[in-house]
Structures are given as C-alpha cells and as structure tokens.
Amino acid sequence: MAEHELEVTVNGRPVTDMVEPRMTLADFLRDRLRLTGTHLGCEHGVCGACTVLADGAAIRSCLVFAVQMRGAAITTVEGLTPDGGGLSDVQEAFRAEHGLQCGFCTPGFVVSVTAFLAEHPDPDTDQIRDALSGNLCRCTGYQGIVRAVQAAVRARQEARVG
C-alpha cells in the first residue's frame, strides 16, 4: 500500500515522515517518535489511555490514522510539562492527591483534564465526573482523581487571585 508523506507538528516540533495509511496516530507517536507517554490500552476507543490534543481538542489517538493529521498540531503528555522540566499543575495535583497508582491510565487522564479545564475553569463535581467518564482507571479508583482535578482548579484560582 502506498505510503503517504506526513507533515505534522508534535509538541511544538515540526515532523516529516512517511507513513502507511493504516498506522494510527498512537502508533506513530510511540513507535516512530518514541513518545511513549501516550499509552495504548484497548486500541479501540474505550479506555482513553491514548488521549492527545489535536489542535487543542482532546481526541483518542488510536481512533485516527496518522496520515489524517497532516498539518495538525499534536500535543502529547510529554508536551504538557513546563520547558525547564518538572510537572504541569495538573500532573502535580495528581501526585499530591494520589490520583494515580500504577500510572498506566494517567497520561490519558492528564491530557483529558488539561483540555477540560481549558474550557471549564470552574467545574462542579458532576461536571468533573462527567469529563472523567471517557478515561478508565483500573487500580487507583476515581476518588483521588476527582480530588486531583479539584485541587488543580483551586490552585489555578488561587494563582489568579494571588
């Protein structure tokens, strides 16, 4: 099958490569770019572990083919951390509130929550639980994750006031 040229921006860096059409964005990120922070759980759109941002919108990277992303700006979990290293505020909140245990699902949660908070700066608990419903966690349980989102919201609000 004919390969296609793919030009895409990933975490601010322009990338050009040749891809087979059936290669998913998730496999492209992991296998070609070695950005293994994007995890693959179910590979059919259920678990949310592979969530990335495409032009700012959270999507399942296992449900798009890399070739479809020509010209798009992709942000993976690696692209959310501050330039000098360390953790983003959402990541920091997950750590502080025991929002992860084994950590497999965490990148998907962090990316989803980052996108959600960008549009909902002051969510209530129902909105938070609704927003988290597209990501599955099989070990930590969701209480800590909900608390982590609430902590991230509070931290941002305090930063704005302060």
Partner: protein, 292 residues
C-alpha cells in the same frame, strides 16, 4: 488490533470524493469522524481496499438556518452540534441528544453524518432524526436525493445509502414546541440499554397535533412508534397518561436481548422512558403555548 492495509484518499471537494466512490465501487468506504469505523477496522470486523476520508472537505461542515429549515453539514462534529447556538434554538432535541454520545473526546471527532450512516441501533442521532422527521441528503456522481429518516435505516449498521453515495446533509424542518431525550445506560457514555427521543406539537386548544416518539437501543434499527403517536393525536396535552403512551409505544416492538438486558427488562425500561419523555415534551409544549 491493527487495521488491514488500505489505500487512503483525502479529497478536498465533494465532487472529487464522489468521483472516487464511483470509480472504486464497493471496494471503498467513506471515512467520516472514524469513531465507529476505526474500531471496526482495528478489530478486523471489516476491511476495505480504499478509505475515502471526508475530513479535508470544509464544505461539508456547516450549520445553516433559513426559512424554517435548519441544514447541518454531514461533517459537523457532535461537539459543534451540541454547542451551536442555531441548533440549540431551532433543533433543541438534537442539542439535547448530544451529551449522551460517548465522551467529549469522541464528540470532538465524531460527526452527525457518520453517526447516521453507521446506523448503530443504540445511537442517539438516528433516533433524533426519526423523531424530528429529518431529511437525509445523499449525493453520488449520479445525482442527489433526499430520503426521509423513516425510510433511511434498514437494519443494524445498514441504510438505504448505496456504496457510491455520501451522506452530505441533514435537514430539519420546523421546530417542535416540546422535545425530550432520555436514555438508560450502564455507565455514562455507553450505548443505551434503551432510549427515547420525543418531539411534540400542540394546538392553541392544547390538544396534541403531533407526537413523534423514536426508540433506540431496543431493536435492530431505531423504531418510530407511529401507532402510539397517532393514537395520541387530538388528546388534551395535560391529560395524557404517560404510562399508557409508554406501553403503546412498545406494543408490537420485539425488544432485543443481550448480555446487558433481557428483552422483558428492556421493554419495561423503554416503556417507562417513553412515557417520561412524552410527559416532558408535552409540558415543554404547554409552557411554550402558554408563555411563548
């Protein structure tokens, strides 16, 4: 969990897409948002020699309202449909159905045309289209035709669309005074065990002029409860017994049984939801007639 190999086409105009489909025949499959098709390919439930991706055709993404008709381009995403001011005011049933679809990550990518074409019997938009008596526009190199939603769905995952046709637009005429969407799913975002979309019109004497009830998740296609709707015509909107309408809506429907619910349970849930949806839609219609 990898799709079988295929040739990929990304036309930039509808004509180009229709040309490709005419040429490739049933070797080709149209790729819209991909939120159902990509899993089908990944699980190898189906394989196609060619995928024709509509995502590069900006002319298929629009919402236009004029003269009482709201036209939604097939590649409009669920996220856009759910948030769009024109849709919220003119086709509120569609906007209300949207949050039930998957999760926000899915709604960012999934499209109304894809949902209707995929024709999952548990999906929300097909039932919404039935309840709203939507017109579904199909284009091919041979020409364009508009099919009523009631004629469109032929079975699980099947519609009247031919392999060379692209669903380009969904048309909604008028605005029902009352509407409601209700569903029961085991978890938020799952396909419904049973669900109902309802659109109601009443006259100035507060009698039911039109009641359209569409059930989803219960059978191999979404089901328009035509007899129940007709039986309700002329009844006083404030006096209709929702339980009776619910029972009537399920009469003659043989509900499917699966891992999640047996047929009897599904029927009871659907009848209850149908009654509640009718009650809500009629209350809304009464409110509108009384207070404008």
């Amino acid at each position: 969990m990898k799709a079988a190999p295929f040739e990929y086409h990304a036309p930039e105009t509808l004509d180009e897409a229709l040309g490709l489909l005419a040429e490739l025949g049933d070797e080709a499959k149209v790729l819209a948002g991909g939120q159902s098709l990509v899993p089908v390919l990944a699980l190898r439930l189906a394989r196609f020699g060619h995928l024709v991706d509509l995502n590069r055709i900006p002319a298929l993404r629009y919402v236009r309202a004029a003269g009482g008709v709201t036209r939604v381009g097939a590649m409009t995403t669920h996220a856009t449909v759910g948030d769009h001011a024109e849709i919220r005011s003119r086709v509120p049933l569609l906007a209300e159905a949207t949050p039930y679809i998957g999760h926000f990550q899915i709604r960012n990518r999934g499209t109304i045309g894809g949902s209707l074409s995929h024709a999952d019997p548990g999906a929300e938009y097909p039932a919404a289209a039935l309840a709203l008596d939507a017109g579904i526009v199909l284009a091919s190199a041979r020409g364009t035709r508009t099919v009523a939603a009631a004629e469109f769905f032929t079975g699980t995952f099947t519609t009247v669309a031919e392999p060379d046709e692209v669903l380009t637009e969904v048309r909604f005429t008028g605005r029902p005074q009352g509407c409601a969407v209700l569903e029961l799913a085991r978890r938020h975002g799952d396909f419904a065990l049973a669900g109902v979309a309802c659109a109601a019109e009443i006259d100035s004497a507060e009698r039911i002029a039109s009641l359209r009830l569409a059930l989803f998740g219960v059978a191999s296609t979404p089901v328009l409860a035509t007899a129940a709707g007709q039986a309700a015509r002329g009844a006083a909107a404030g006096e209709l017994d929702p339980r009776e309408v619910g029972r009537a809506a399920l009469a003659g429907v043989s509900c499917v049984a699966d891992l999640h619910a047996d047929a009897g349970y599904r029927e009871r849930v659907a009848a209850h939801l149908a009654g509640q949806a009718v009650r809500q839609a009629l209350q809304q219609a009464l409110q509108e007639v009384r207070h404008g």
